[in-house]
Structures are given as structure tokens and as C-alpha cells.
């Protein structure tokens, strides 16, 4: 097999693994990519990403725990989760196409910003009170449960809400805080 054919085959395999849902959550773990593509899978992902860039898509890496300082090692990558996400932002009207009402999305944004302002954890009641100030009361609890089910927020045993895997994969928190402060 030529080198090009080898990489073509690997890239196709990587595309299937990343785009198609295999588990409860989308995306794929680094070690799964390693098992399927070999330990040079970061190189294969880089090549794939160059194709995806033309489609305004990207491969996002979400590390287990804290982001490693400096260049991540192969071990860090093996434990991380890889997703394909949209590269640039979305027009507001397209959010509706993704199954989100404008109110619900606003509530999600407010909840995420509030949790960020509280250093990553906020009491569920406080978040509900915040949302109730701008959204109909009966929708607030439904929405928070939806955010938790979708993976944007998590709730621990002490009713503290925190930012869960989907927020870490989809939302640029730093940029969001900056934009909010500029408003």
C-alpha cells in the first residue's frame, strides 16, 4: 500500500469514528482512535482537519480534567475526547434549525455565564432565580433539566451546577466573557 493510500484509508476511518455516534455521547476517545488508527493518529487528525477547514468545521479536543500546560503528550491525548464542531460562529436564525428556541438558548447562555462568574460552580436555586427574572417561571426547571440532559451543565449531589462536557467542547468561555463585558 502506498503512503497516500495508507493515509486515505486512515482518514476515512477517522471521519467515520468522529462523525458517527458510537456511544451515549458524540465524539470519540483518544485511546479508541489509537486502537483503530495507530499511535500516529494525531497526525491523521491534523490531515483530516485540513479537509474539514474548507467546510468550516474543526476537530476539537477536550482534555480530561484540566488542560495540560504546554504541548499535550500522547498520554493526555489518549485520555481526551475528540469532537467535530462548527469552526466559526453561527447566525442566530440557524440556532433554530438545531432545535433550540431563542428563549432556551438565551437561558443557556445566561446560565453558563453565571456559572463562569461563580468560578465554575453555582447553586441550582440561584441559577433558577436568575433565569426566572427573564423567562417564564414554568420553563425554567424544564430548561435546566434539558441543559443537564444535553451535557451543557452538570449537577452534583449538593445541587451545585457546573459546566459539563458539551460546554467545554462547544463554547469558547473566554471569548464569551470578553464579549459580555464589552456589551
Amino acid at each position: 500500500m502506498t503512503k497516500k493510500a495508507y493515509y486515505d484509508h486512515k482518514i476515512k476511518r477517522a471521519t467515520q469514528m468522529l462523525f458517527y455516534r458510537h456511544h451515549m455521547k458524540p465524539g470519540v476517545k483518544g485511546w479508541e482512535l489509537k486502537n483503530s488508527l495507530g499511535s500516529d493518529y494525531p497526525k491523521i487528525l491534523k490531515v483530516l482537519e485540513s479537509y474539514l477547514e474548507k467546510l468550516d468545521l474543526q476537530i476539537k479536543t477536550v482534555f480530561e480534567g484540566e488542560n495540560p500546560s504546554g504541548e499535550p503528550t500522547l498520554e493526555d491525548l489518549n485520555k481526551a475526547r475528540f469532537y467535530v464542531t462548527v469552526r466559526g460562529g453561527l447566525p442566530e436564525k440557524d440556532a433554530k434549525m438545531m432545535g433550540w428556541r431563542i428563549d432556551d438558548l438565551a437561558g443557556l447562555a445566561a446560565a453558563i455565564s453565571y456559572i463562569v462568574s461563580k468560578k465554575g460552580k453555582a447553586n441550582r436555586e440561584e441559577v433558577e432565580d436568575l433565569l426566572r427574572s427573564k423567562l417564564p417561571g414554568w420553563r425554567v426547571e424544564i430548561n435546566i433539566s434539558r441543559y443537564i440532559r444535553s451535557g451543557y451543565l452538570g449537577e452534583d449531589e449538593h445541587n451545585q451546577l457546573y459546566l459539563d462536557w458539551r460546554t467545554r467542547a462547544e463554547v469558547d468561555q473566554k471569548a464569551m466573557v470578553k464579549l459580555l463585558l464589552l456589551k
Binding site: 458517527y20 458524540p26 476539537k60 464542531t85 453565571y114 447553586n123 436568575l130 427574572s133 463554547v171 459580555l180
Partner: protein
């Protein structure tokens, strides 16, 4: 627990609750005076004696370590680029309209792409599974309660099924006592295992069970020879009911299957030697 010890334990419990509020209710970890808490724990430590009190002290130290960790996380968070004055951010959140939130969020939101699709091979596997699946009516068969006709049963049948006993307990006890006296005969006493040992292990256990009551209720007594490792039972000619009023001492005697087997073998060997 003395009054002083109770006060120490109460104070330590309050320290634990205070430390837990940092984790559970998001209280500012820097609002706790760690030095003062450590001094308090050191002050109460010499008064703690029981393992439960020590465990409470250990829990307090663990909770304190968690508070210090939270302080470390706070400093680490503050030093990252994500840090912003929380009051300013909170103020902004309260003042912004929902349209502003949408505008900001859609600029920073990059949703995950996920697709689901059936393949021919998986469909084929699913069809194979469907064909082999037993109908639900068969799988979830509910038999319901069985109708039973009412009838009669004799006392003998109840005794045979061990629902009723043939004799009362006292009758059984007296019968055992008579049996013991018959077996002892002219001798004053009999070896314990020679009396309780039977052809089956179950019968041996029953006999040992009744023997324990014979001794407890004053129908017989035990004679122990610890050096020879022998135990004798001595039946009384008349039950001594005053024995049950006196302070009794427990004598544990092991009745294991292995010991019964050993007794049986010894008895067989004795029989063979006589022949």
C-alpha cells in the same frame, strides 16, 4: 462521655459543618480562618479518648484539607485568563437583555457535529435478533395465583411436617432426663459424648440441645476434667429447681461434624476390640 468531652465534640462538629459549607454551598473558602481552626482542633485533641471522638477529629482535619484545596483552586482560577471580576460579570448578566445573550452566545458557540445512521449489516443483525426473539406474551407470562381447595389435615401429618411437635418441651425434657438416668444406670455419671452421641449427626445435635437444658434447669450437672479433656454428665435423682436461681456459668462444648465422626470411629474401634 463527660460534659467537657461532649463540648469538644460539639465544637469539632461545628468546624466540620463550616468546612463542608465551602464545598456544598459555595461559601468563599477564604472566609474561614484556617489558623484559628487548627488551633482549636489542637486544643481539643488531648481531651479526645474514644475511637469515635478520634474519628470526628480526623474528619475535621480532612474537611479542613478540602477547604485549603478550594483556596488553591481559587488562586489557580484567578491566575488564568478566564478570570474576571465576578461582581462585574454578575452585574452585566443581570442587566443584559436576552437578545444580547443570544448575540454573544451564537458568536462563541460551535456545536458538535453528530450523526446517526443504520447500515445494512446492522439491519441484518437486527432482523436475525427479531426472528429469534420469543413473543412477549410468552416472555411475560403471568401465571397468577394457584387456586387451592381448602381441606383438612391430621395432627400426625402436622407433626410429620414438623409444624407441630408431638410433645411439649417439658415432656421432651423429662423424657431426656429419664433416658439419661437409664443410660447412667448404676454408675454415677456418663461421658458427655457417650450420652449425646447417636447414629446420625442430626440426632446427636438434638440430644446435645436437650442436654444443655437438662443442666440449666437442674435435672443434671456437668463434671469437667480439663487435664484429661473429659466431660461427664451426672443426672440428679430429683430435679434441683434451686439451681436455676443460682448464678450460672456457661460451659462451651463444641459439637462439630468432625468430632461426631471421631466419636463414631472410636466407638467402632472399641466394639471391634471387644470382639
Amino acid at each position: 462521655m463527660s460534659k467537657k468531652e461532649k463540648l469538644s465534640v460539639d465544637h469539632i462538629q461545628r468546624v466540620i459543618e463550616l468546612c463542608k459549607s465551602v464545598d456544598e454551598q459555595g461559601v468563599d473558602p477564604f472566609s474561614l480562618d484556617i489558623d484559628e481552626i487548627i488551633t482549636t482542633l489542637q486544643q481539643y485533641f488531648p481531651e479526645l479518648e474514644s475511637p469515635e471522638e478520634m474519628a470526628i477529629d480526623a474528619e475535621a482535619v480532612q474537611c479542613l484539607a478540602s477547604v485549603i484545596q478550594n483556596q488553591g483552586n481559587w488562586v489557580k482560577y484567578r491566575s488564568t485568563s478566564l478570570y474576571t471580576d465576578p461582581f462585574l460579570l454578575e452585574d452585566k448578566i443581570n442587566r443584559l437583555k436576552k437578545e444580547d445573550f443570544i448575540e454573544v452566545f451564537t458568536k462563541v458557540w460551535t456545536p458538535v457535529i453528530e450523526m446517526e445512521q443504520l447500515s445494512i449489516s446492522y439491519l441484518a443483525e437486527a432482523m436475525k435478533y427479531w426472528d429469534s426473539l420469543v413473543p412477549i406474551a410468552e416472555r411475560w407470562q403471568n401465571d397468577g395465583p394457584i387456586e387451592v381447595q381448602t381441606g383438612t389435615i391430621t395432627r400426625e401429618e402436622l407433626v410429620r411436617q414438623k409444624i407441630l411437635v408431638e410433645k411439649t418441651f417439658i415432656e421432651e425434657l423429662v423424657a431426656s432426663w429419664v433416658q439419661l438416668k437409664q443410660k447412667v444406670g448404676e454408675n454415677r455419671k456418663i461421658l458427655y459424648w457417650d450420652f449425646i452421641g447417636c447414629d446420625t449427626f442430626n440426632e446427636t445435635l438434638d440430644r446435645a440441645y436437650m442436654t444443655s437444658f437438662l443442666v440449666t434447669y437442674g435435672y443434671a450437672t456437668l463434671e469437667l476434667h480439663p487435664l484429661d479433656e473429659e466431660v461427664f454428665i451426672i443426672p440428679f435423682t430429683e430435679p434441683r429447681l434451686e439451681m436455676s436461681d443460682r448464678h450460672l456459668v456457661s460451659v462451651p462444648i463444641s459439637i462439630s461434624f468432625d468430632e461426631w465422626i471421631r466419636w463414631k470411629e472410636e466407638k467402632l474401634n472399641d466394639k471391634k476390640s471387644l470382639l
